[in-house]
């Protein structure tokens, strides 16, 4: 049924180390991008754009960021939302304080500030490992949110301590309709996802994986531990920072620091684990799962209540959603502990043999 990976021969190392070495994959990616850029805008409703697609893409980007750190470099972090907050608040200040700065430059600069903060909070990773490090990153989560709440300068002395995202204007075009915002977010996410895929495939990604698998061994074979780990923190925080800025500018509009709370950090971690640790595809799948599941559950419960004789009181319904969500997480982990991305590759394998499995 599906294509086979065998039989495509490379004649140069360059071809062998391409991002997508298999022709069908390249076609597949091109197809997906074409659908995302052209197909989706033709059919999607405003609700789909602004309530599902935009947050899905933004959170995918954050999940890619965390996946670089956790999945590739093996450093568990519970502070992703704080780095997103840094990106958002830094971008806000760049735009508010430097008149005429291009929006995209401000987002990138916001990401760079997040990267710098990420390096600082990544320093302990040189000594601390595993769950200890995870709890240590909580220090970043709580400290950064406290800092943003406490220092009036970062919100430009707003009386309520919130930032109000300026309208997104790029080259004179105002991105304020949902499809326009979607296309902007999609372009940024697609570019950065490709960059991530490229990074993890090359020298840097292999260094990260070596550190992840055993840092002492990696150091022995000449991979500088400090530089590699800190670089992972920096790149990861950059991705989170840009995602955070988009979260404020393309999604929420007016945000308080509290919007980037521990809960969000956890949700991003769920995406990485459920999607698949150490895969870029997994970040998208995980994000889709975490964004969509509560919505589907909520719709299902409301629908059951309205259209069937079963009467579900509102609070029981809400609790039921949480229960089912928890069960789904456990069920997924038991069925496939390596995440949705692995499920995808198993599915591909099965389809390849179909209809004659033996």
């Amino acid at each position: 049924m599906l294509y086979r990976e065998a039989g495509q021969f490379k004649t140069s190392y360059l071809a062998d180390s391409a991002i997508f070495p298999i022709r069908q994959d390249r076609i597949g990616i091109a197809l997906i991008l074409a659908i995302a850029f052209v197909g989706v805008p033709l059919v999607a409703t405003p609700y789909f754009f602004s309530a599902i697609l935009i947050p899905f893409l933004i959170l995918s980007l954050a999940a890619i960021g965390l996946n670089i750190l956790t999945g590739y470099a093996g450093q568990l972090s519970l502070g992703s939302a704080a780095f997103m907050a840094v990106g958002a608040f830094a971008s806000f200040n760049f735009i508010a304080r430097i008149p005429g700065i291009p929006m995209l430059v401000a987002f990138a600069a916001g990401g760079l500030v997040a990267a710098a903060v990420g390096i600082v909070f990544g320093l302990p990773s040189l000594r601390i490992r595993g769950f200890y490090l995870a709890v240590a990153t909580l220090a970043a989560q709580f400290f950064i949110i406290w800092f943003l709440t406490k220092v009036p300068w970062v919100t430009n002395y707003n009386a309520s301590g919130v930032i109000t995202a300026q309208p997104i204007v790029i080259l004179g075009y105002r991105f304020d309709s949902p499809p326009a915002k979607y296309l902007l977010v999609l372009s940024i996410v697609a570019l950065m996802a490709l960059a991530a895929k490229n990074m993890t495939r090359g020298n840097l990604g292999r260094k990260w994986m070596a550190i992840r698998d055993m840092d002492v061994a990696a150091e022995v074979i000449g991979i500088p531990q400090m530089r590699t780990k800190l670089l992972a923190f920096a790149v990861s925080s950059f991705y989170c920072g840009v995602a955070g800025a988009l979260f404020a500018y393309a999604y929420l509009g007016t945000v308080e620091p509290e919007a980037y709370n521990l809960d969000l950090s956890f949700r991003i971690l769920f995406m990485v684990i459920i999607g698949g640790v150490g895969t870029i595809l997994g970040s998208f799948l995980g994000s889709a799962f975490i964004v969509l599941t509560p919505i589907v559950l909520n719709t299902t419960v409301t629908w059951l209540d309205a259209h069937t004789p079963v009467h579900i009181p509102a609070s029981a319904g809400s609790n039921l959603e949480v229960v089912v969500f928890g069960v789904l997480i456990i069920a997924f982990l038991i069925l496939e502990p390596h995440g949705l991305a692995r499920l995808w590759s198993i599915g591909k394998e099965k389809l390849r043999l179909w209809p004659f499995p033996h």
Binding site: A51, T149, S160, G161, Q166, G253, I295, T299, A314, L335
Partner: protein
């Protein structure tokens, strides 16, 4: 695999079927939260609102127009709230008005409601500056904002001290939820302190506030005359308990309305006795409208609260008052744009801007004394600014004052300044209200 497949198929089917046909009815999306740390507030408030809507419908609706609503669980989470809003805003012919009862979600909706032209009410919370209708066309902090509330608190303390000017030289500790919500009234409080000559000590409490020994020991050390408690959720009972533990008299604590429900004081047990909090609706089941809800809805099993003991509780009555204000706004709009017709969101907005609930009208609605008169206008989206103070006697909240307001002129000045700054940041041209009708 099979399991996942069936699950996914089921989900897709559910999505497809969930789109309901639209009726010509007045649709109000309900962004509620019935789970999570603030569930008590959400279930009581939205339960009250739904009870009142049901009552209106059972009496023939608003001039024959029935109200319909759909609920969506937000879990008090900004991102989920935005999704709920986007999901519900086009249902059943479009949303008339929305109230998320969450400052974080309200922030996420401010831009959206202006773009979608759907009025949002933030009944007793949200941005203080949004009382300025010239800038915030689509936002209505009905009743009171936090700024007016803190002003009323100061007025109450002044009254307690024996009249105007008596707060001079006094010390007030402001203990607050360390978040945008807790910081909101600080500017107003500082301005009031400068004007009235009292000192403010600000003591932030890190959310969620499950332990507060250090904060209350600071209170013990600094010996303020009064404490203003600006808490939320679990922070409130813990504050009262810790105050008892460190020996600060509860009679000298004044709480914000988020710290003044049964759910806030019952867990504190005897430690809460004598504690005073602000409210902008009076609790109880003695009002005719509450009696109607009890006899016409709950007696027939149509009530929304699961625990009938909560009928007439603070959050429940507050929800009922919200229901009254919304239906009255729609009624007002119908008076202008056609009785018995379904109002568009623009028309509802006009109605919200022209609410005029006098004491007589409130009495007609069977709610005399339940809430203060409300009169909104193009530039004043707040309409009242009055709160009532009530003391917890161990079993129930008993009123200690009538509805009263603080220094509204000062607050209005701050509102206008802040709104002007917002307009400049967002590049909004304020509307000239003198040209509106």
């Amino acid at each position: 695999m099979k399991l996942i497949k069936t699950l996914l198929l089921g989900a897709v089917a559910a999505c497809a079927l969930a789109t309901t046909p639209s009726y010509a009815q007045q649709f109000i999306p309900i962004l509620s939260y019935r789970i999570g740390p603030y569930a008590a507030g959400g279930s009581g408030y939205f339960g009250g609102a739904i009870d009142y809507f049901n009552l209106v419908n059972s009496q023939g609706g608003i001039n024959g127009v029935k109200l319909v609503w759909e609920e969506c669980e937000t879990e008090y989470n900004a991102a989920r709230g935005v999704e709920c809003y986007e999901r519900l805003k086009t249902r059943n012919g479009g949303a008339s008005t929305v109230d998320p009862l969450s400052t974080g979600i309200a922030y996420g909706l401010i831009d959206r409601v202006a773009q979608d032209k759907i009025p949002m009410t933030t009944f007793g919370y949200g941005l203080g500056a949004s009382a300025d209708g010239n800038v915030f066309r689509w936002v209505f902090p009905l009743g009171t904002t936090y700024w007016d509330q803190v002003a009323a608190m100061v007025a109450y303390l002044e009254q307690k001290e024996g009249g105007a000017g008596k707060l001079k030289g006094k010390k007030i500790a402001y203990m607050y939820h360390d978040s945008a919500y807790g910081k909101e009234p600080i500017g107003t409080l500082d301005a009031l302190a400068a004007k009235n000559g009292f000192e403010v000590i600000k003591i932030p409490i890190t959310p969620p506030g499950t332990t507060q020994e250090s904060q209350w020991l600071q209170v013990r050390q600094q010996k303020p005359d009064y404490v203003i408690l600006w808490g939320f959720g679990v922070m409130n009972p813990v504050a009262l308990k810790t105050a008892a533990k460190t020996g600060f008299p509860r009679e000298k604590i004044v709480g914000v309305w988020w710290a003044g429900s049964e759910e806030d004081v019952i867990p504190a047990g005897t430690a809460a006795k004598g504690y005073v909090s602000a409210a902008f609706s009076a609790p109880g089941t003695s009002f005719p409208v509450m009696q109607d809800i009890k006899t016409k809805l709950y007696a027939n099993g149509k009530g929304n609260l699961e625990d009938p003991a909560r009928i007439g509780s603070i959050y429940h009555t507050r929800g009922v008052v919200y229901g009254i204000l919304i239906t009255e706004a729609i009624r007002k709009a119908q008076d202008k744009f056609g009785k018995g017709k379904v109002m568009t969101p623009e028309q509802v907005r006009w109605g919200l801007e022209h609410i005029d609930l006098t004491d007589a009208r409130i009495k007609e609605l069977g709610a005399a004394g339940m809430f203060p008169p409300v009169k909104t206008s193009c530039s004043d989206h707040e309409g009242s600014g009055m709160v009532k103070f009530q003391v917890w006697d161990g079993n129930a909240f008993k009123p200690v004052t009538g509805f009263m307001a603080g220094d509204r002129a000062l607050v209005r000045k701050l509102v206008e300044e802040s709104a002007a700054k917002y307009a400049a940041d967002k590049k909004i041209t304020p509307v000239d209200c003198s040209k509106e009708n």
